[in-house]
Subunit: 394 residues, 2 copies
């Protein structure tokens, strides 16, 4: 299958290019390489060294004996998207090309507006280009479980049957996102659903949990095929950040009570799920929503897990609670469905410890890189748009 | 009260400036004057002649014996919004400054993206400027009943209590908007709700029905105080368009079955409701949603009404069904609440016939203007982004 990956240089995008290619798909992609800049802007760096775009293309050629069509360009420029689709004629488009950080979007007016404008416009451009150029193509769009927020009822997959005042309807499940970034993803979900309805586009909207890990089997031992792994306050997600903290002996940083629950999944599971969705496309005009995560965990459970696995390999690390820079519920009900991917054959990783152990072993070789950017580990971007470094509270 | 009107040159914005000033409020506003350009772009014109911005300012001075702070500028330019707020220090901000047409947004990629970018960014800018400069100010944001779509259950005002799998929560009522424009309003509603939650802003989100009529008592007899009245396929809404058609003897144009139901309200009711919301602001941090309409009517009921009132004053006009350029349900359940404004004292106009009769009498003097732009009456912008003039089907 010809798969176009928007955002091919990112954490998920680069991994997916390798994963799909190893499974016989023909991949092309585009990226503006902004993730590298954003992480530098907030004082971070990929804990595992990553290759430049040109080195990635050479490594890809060495691994798969064919060139990789990896374009540098801006998806908010419609003519660029048109050119990509006209030349590659994708059968599927995976949209990973967005600004993906909640804190980055909360910083100030400029970062908020940039995030929403970029994410909304580039998603619209992909919808229009599919309609105009490759109307049969399947759009696999990455949303986030964060779109739903933390309602007091179960979270279905996109839609639910409700009874209200004695009448029934199947309605989109209400979204209550918790950052300007997450709101941008809600906007994209609404726009994508609408495009499917009026134009008959086929779309899978993935409400993805928090991904962790930085290696999949298909990358093999070539370090040029490695994907990035961030640990800064903006782009470093919970388990990845904990592992980076563990290898330099920094306390694992819980925010607030640490009882916040979220869906999580290893990178290998994310790749397997995306491939399942691609290889089992929706019907023409169908808009389907998949909740994509291995399981739901509280943040403190995950910190305990990382602490315990670290101890097994001789790393002793504390867990500390910091005052929460976010505006979020710290104790809440959380019961999201994830049946659709299981129905397609998704087999969730059961061994979180093995994934964490692998990550710790890889990161141990790069302690100095993390140590040199240690200041980026503690958040100072607050949800009221002020800047104040979080303090230890427990 | 010091009220800043974003979009003060528009159909509602100009009317509101007059209405609030006549009721003792201190008004200022901004506009980019784009509505005048858009209507010209689609071959339309205001059926009732309107004054230029400078003439409007002079007429305002003559009517209220004080100058009107009416700035020309772009609300997507944050520094412009900051300057407005720093100098005027509004106690309330009414957001009417958006691109308001469904067909205009459906035309092509450029119009779709322009609409969403403009509407989302300028609403974000108002939210940020309120937070940074006048955090106590009340944001009165104009949304539309169209955000809800046409669900098979009653439409509450913004939120509903649901039971799902044995648990209960109060959730935002799901939005299923029917155009790129309406989607942009949904995005703005989500963003505004979020700003109220994290920053403690006070906001009233008005889900407004379709407004008709072009005169309110406070405009008196000065033609320079007249607001615009459009009849083209993009900016001419149902009753206004029917009245313009009636005075030139053009058949009234129903789309499809004509059984689509929507909430409608006269311009005078819209003004009274907005003033009620301003004079009864929400608590600090409260986000409240008002459904604002006089009553729900089917489009064919309204065509019958206009035909009947026209006959009373000697105008004979047919009603014709045209193939529907939109993707919408033509027969559907429609039962929206509108209790919140009634609770504040809103007294719905009961005499639709009188409003329509007044409009027909005013429009009769401008038959030539309408006649000269008759081609703009029949839609050719279709929801699949093609262009094809609608044909008579019944």
């Amino acid at each position: 299958m010809r798969v176009f990956i928007a955002g091919i240089d990112g954490y998920l995008g680069w991994s997916l290019a390798i994963h799909l290619s190893a499974h016989g798909h023909q991949v092309a992609g585009a990226d503006m390489l902004l993730r590298r800049q954003w992480v530098a802007e907030v004082g971070g760096i990929s804990a595992l060294p990553i290759a430049s775009r040109d080195e990635r293309r050479r490594a890809y050629h060495d691994a798969f004996s064919r060139p990789l069509d990896f374009r540098v360009g801006d998806l908010t420029d419609y003519s660029f998207v048109q050119d990509c689709f006209r030349e590659f004629q994708p059968e599927a488009v995976v949209h990973l090309g967005q600004m993906p950080s909640a804190p980055y979007s909360m910083m100030d007016q400029a970062h908020c507006v940039w995030t929403q404008r970029n994410n909304v416009v580039n998603n619209l451009n992909l919808l229009w280009a599919i309609k105009e150029i490759v109307p049969e193509a399947h759009l696999l769009k990455l949303g986030t479980m964060g779109e739903y927020g933390t309602p007091a009822v179960d979270i279905p997959e996109g839609f639910f049957e409700v009874e209200f005042r004695g009448r029934k309807d199947r309605l989109p499940f209400p979204r209550q996102a918790g950052s300007w970034y997450h709101q941008s993803k809600v906007h994209d979900s609404h726009n994508t659903h609408f495009a499917a309805k009026i134009w008959g586009l086929s779309a899978t909207d993935i409400m993805q949990g928090v991904v962790f890990g930085a290696h999949i089997a298909e990358m093999g031992a070539d370090p040029r095929l490695q994907t990035r792994l961030d640990f800064d306050q903006c782009f470093g997600t919970a388990i990845n950040r904990f592992c980076c903290q563990a290898v330099i002996g920094h306390p694992l940083t819980l925010f607030g009570l640490g009882k916040q629950k979220r869906g999580f999944l290893p990178l290998a599971d994310a790749m397997a799920c995306l491939r399942l969705a691609l290889e089992n496309p929706p019907a023409r005009g169908e808009y389907r929503v998949f909740n994509q995560f291995e399981n739901a965990y509280s943040i403190s459970e995950l910190a305990d897990l990382v602490q315990s696995v670290a101890a097994d390999i001789g790393l002793s690390v504390d867990i500390r609670r910091y005052d929460n820079p976010r505006h979020e519920m710290e104790e809440h009900y959380y019961q999201p469905d994830r049946q659709h991917l299981l129905d397609l054959g998704y087999q969730p990783s059961r061994d979180m410890r093995a994934v964490v152990a692998g990550m710790l072993r890889a990161l141990r070789q790069h302690k100095a890189r993390i140590k040199a950017h240690e200041a980026a580990l503690i958040p100072d971007i607050r949800w009221d748009a002020s800047r104040r470094r979080s303090e230890v509270i427990g």
